[in-house]
């Protein structure tokens, strides 16, 4: 087992252990914190697919995070108020079943990503960064000024959506759902990375001309990866909405795109468990520093700066050493 694999196991099991330890210590809040880490890590895992493997530095993943969130919020609201979502041409009602919501979130994010990707993937480098931001900002401003679902005030989910056979209001059970989804997506990411598709995707990042000269069109590969990436981040958004029982345009703001990106970079770009390590460190720092001093952002900044300057390749870079490509 390589050093990275060991660290991955430690990270994965460590996250799983936190809520149970918290429960034993009688500190249920840490369950919520662990859930938050799991969900935001999931958003990072999604972005990591595009950014780490495919080299697509999307500064607009908040769009998918937010759309996932709104999918959950809107469906739940309609279910709660028992108003149909669509009355014509066919009746579509809301839902408070997580499975349904996830499917909808994934489908909508994939669709939106397909459209955005088809346009944005013609650009590269900083232009790609900015055009993805542009789309996210459009959606952000749309959400702020669109009155139907609360606009800037957001939308509350009064009762957390349900999952067949589980009580989602129990923090531990909700955590386990999120954890399971995270692990499933990590597993999918790992398989993707090692698959033929993953090989092509990684070459699309390293040298797109080479990929084309091998008979594989980089555009198609990237587009599919972008869609999968968006779907995962959207799923995270749906879970995040359920965690907070609230969605608002702030989920769509560029700060969120930046934060997700920071989880990935902090953890180690392209490393499977990088987003988990990054999200955990960031959130724990935010949590502890916020409790200690009003000037916590200053210290957060200094710590982040030290990490970039002195730790090459993020947390996993320093713990697991240089990446090896067999």
């Amino acid at each position: 087992m390589s050093r990275e694999t060991v660290i991955n196991w430690v990270l994965g099991l460590g996250l799983l252990a936190v809520p149970f330890i918290a429960l034993m210590q009688g500190e249920p809040f840490y369950i919520t914190l662990a859930t938050r880490v799991a969900i935001l890590a999931l958003a990072g895992v999604g972005l990591n697919l595009a950014l780490g493997l495919g080299g697509m530095v999307s500064f607009g993943h908040a769009a998918f995070f937010g759309i996932g969130g709104y999918a959950a919020g809107i469906l739940a609201t309609h279910a709660f108020n028992q108003e149909p979502l669509l009355a014509w041409p066919l009746t579509v009602s809301g839902s408070s079943d997580m499975l349904v919501i996830w499917l909808v979130a994934i489908a909508i994010c994939a669709l939106v990503a397909l459209v955005i990707g088809a346009i944005t993937l013609r650009t590269s480098g900083v232009y790609f960064i900015m055009i993805t931001l542009a789309f996210a900002q459009m959606i952000y401003y749309f959400a702020i000024s669109w009155p139907a679902y609360g606009g800037e005030d957001g939308l509350s989910i009064y009762v957390r959506n349900g999952f067949p056979g589980l009580n989602t209001l129990d923090p531990i059970q909700f955590f386990l759902i999120c954890y399971a989804v995270l692990m499933a997506c990590l597993f999918i990411s790992a398989r993707l990375r090692d698959s033929r598709f993953g090989a092509a995707l990684q070459v699309a990042r390293q040298n797109p001309d080479r990929l084309a000269a091998t008979g594989i069109a980089p555009f198609n590969i990237r587009l599919v990866a972008f869609v999968i990436s968006a779907a995962m981040t959207g799923l995270a958004g749906a879970l995040f909405a359920d965690l907070n029982r609230f969605v608002s345009p702030s989920m769509l703001s560029w700060h969120v795109s930046g934060e997700i990106m920071i989880f990935v970079i902090l953890g180690g770009v392209g490393r499977l468990f990088g987003p988990l390590a990054g999200a955990a460190l960031f959130i724990v720092m935010e949590f502890y520093l916020g409790g200690i001093t009003e000037h916590w952002q200053l210290f957060l900044g200094i710590i982040l700066l030290c990490v970039v300057l002195f730790v090459r390749g993020g947390i996993l870079g320093i713990m697991a050493g240089r990446r090896v490509h067999a």
Binding site: F29, R36, G151, R245, H255, E286, Q297
Partner: protein, 357 residues
């Protein structure tokens, strides 16, 4: 019986001045009361809804607070309040008053100690009538609070609207809007542009040489912000439920104590924080916080000396109060406000009927 209060407010980034004032007002009241049983923990939400939710969870689950308060912004309140009151704690709003929470979404554990969001705008509509304005140009940012503001203004305003403009949230340049105002032939301007937007608008308005009278809610003319707007604000009429020259003993004591403690003049937000703390203190005298029903009833009685004078709760647990009209004046070197009249008397909120309490 000790009461633990968790204050979630904005202490960093843009808009942190408001949070700082609410906190300082609150802590001042606690200090003046000298009640050892009131324990307050304060944390910064950085104006991020999800961070606010996280802190609320932490305060409820880990710190086991009895009362939450402190949130400045409506969108953060909407994120935190429903789930917090759902978990059985009390929430006392020292600033935001979204219509949802005043109407359909009201809750027995939610009290608003400031105002319903529309109140100050409504009062300005009332003032526009009494000032004799016939054609007012109104503008606000394009988001729910902005729309509520213009709706609120129009609710009592009887004249014509020259034009209605929604600006971009966070916009910093208003040359185009000012040109529209000049061209519209309006006899007055009503605007709601909170924070930096209002500062930028007022400065640019003054620089443009347009001299149509301007009015707005207190948010753009309050103590914390007046210094930054500068002389451009002189003479502007604004509406507020509080002013430092309201003549009652509680207010006098508050203003003096605040100046002594923090070496600056108190603001609207400081007064709201101050009142919130005193409301809690008054309830603590009457009931044990562990007895939720009794404590709720005690809060509802609101038997404390509000710095704004008479204060009582309507059935939706939002204040019924006078909204004053103030004018920006200069006292020595310092810009401040002076009450010139009352915009609306004993105003409750437009959404009371929707509330099933």
């Amino acid at each position: 019986e000790p009461v633990k209060v968790g204050m979630i407010t904005t202490l960093s980034g843009g808009g942190s001045g408001l949070g700082v004032d609410v906190r300082d007002g609150f802590l001042l009241a606690a200090k003046m009361a000298g009640n050892k049983d009131l324990e307050v923990i304060v944390e910064d939400d950085a104006r991020k809804p999800d961070l606010a939710v996280q802190i609320a969870d932490k305060m409820i689950q880990k710190e086991k607070v009895d009362v939450l308060t402190g949130i400045i912004w409506s969108n953060l309140a909407m994120a935190v309040v429903p789930s917090a009151v759902g978990q059985g704690v009390f929430y006392l709003s020292p600033n935001a008053g979204p219509s949802m929470l005043a109407g359909k979404g009201c809750h027995e554990n939610y009290f608003n100690v400031a105002w319903q969001n529309d109140n100050l705008h409504e009062a300005m509509g009332g003032h526009a009538n009494s000032a004799g304005f016939k054609k007012t140009f109104i503008l606000a940012p394009n988001y729910p609070a902005g729309k509520d503001a213009l709706t609120g203004f129009k609710r009592f305003y009887e004249g014509d609207v020259a034009d209605e403009l929604y600006t971009k949230l966070g916009q910093t340049d208003y040359a185009a809007e000012i040109a529209q105002i000049r061209a519209s032939g309006a006899d007055s301007v009503f605007f709601f542009l909170p924070g930096g937007m209002g500062i930028a608008f007022m400065k640019q308005y003054a620089q443009s040489g347009v001299d149509i009278p301007v009015m707005g809610p207190a948010f753009s003319f309050d103590q914390g912000i007046l210094g930054a707007v500068g002389d451009a604000a002189l003479g502007v009429k604004n509406s507020s439920q509080w002013s430092k020259d309201i003549d009652n003993p509680a207010n006098k004591a508050f203003v003096e104590a605040f100046k002594a403690e923090y070496d600056r003049l108190p603001s609207l937000y400081a007064s709201q924080g101050f009142d919130t703390a005193n409301l809690i203190l008054s309830a603590m005298k009457k009931a044990d916080v562990k007895d939720a029903d009794a404590f709720r009833a005690a809060l509802k009685d609101a038997e404390f000396d509000s710095v704004r004078g008479d204060f009582k709760f309507d059935s939706n647990q939002h204040p019924i109060q006078d909204i004053y009209v103030r004018e920006v004046v200069k006292e020595g070197d310092v810009l401040t406000n002076k009450i010139i009249g009352i915009g609306l008397e004993d105003r409750s909120s437009a959404y009371v009927e929707d509330c099933k309490l």
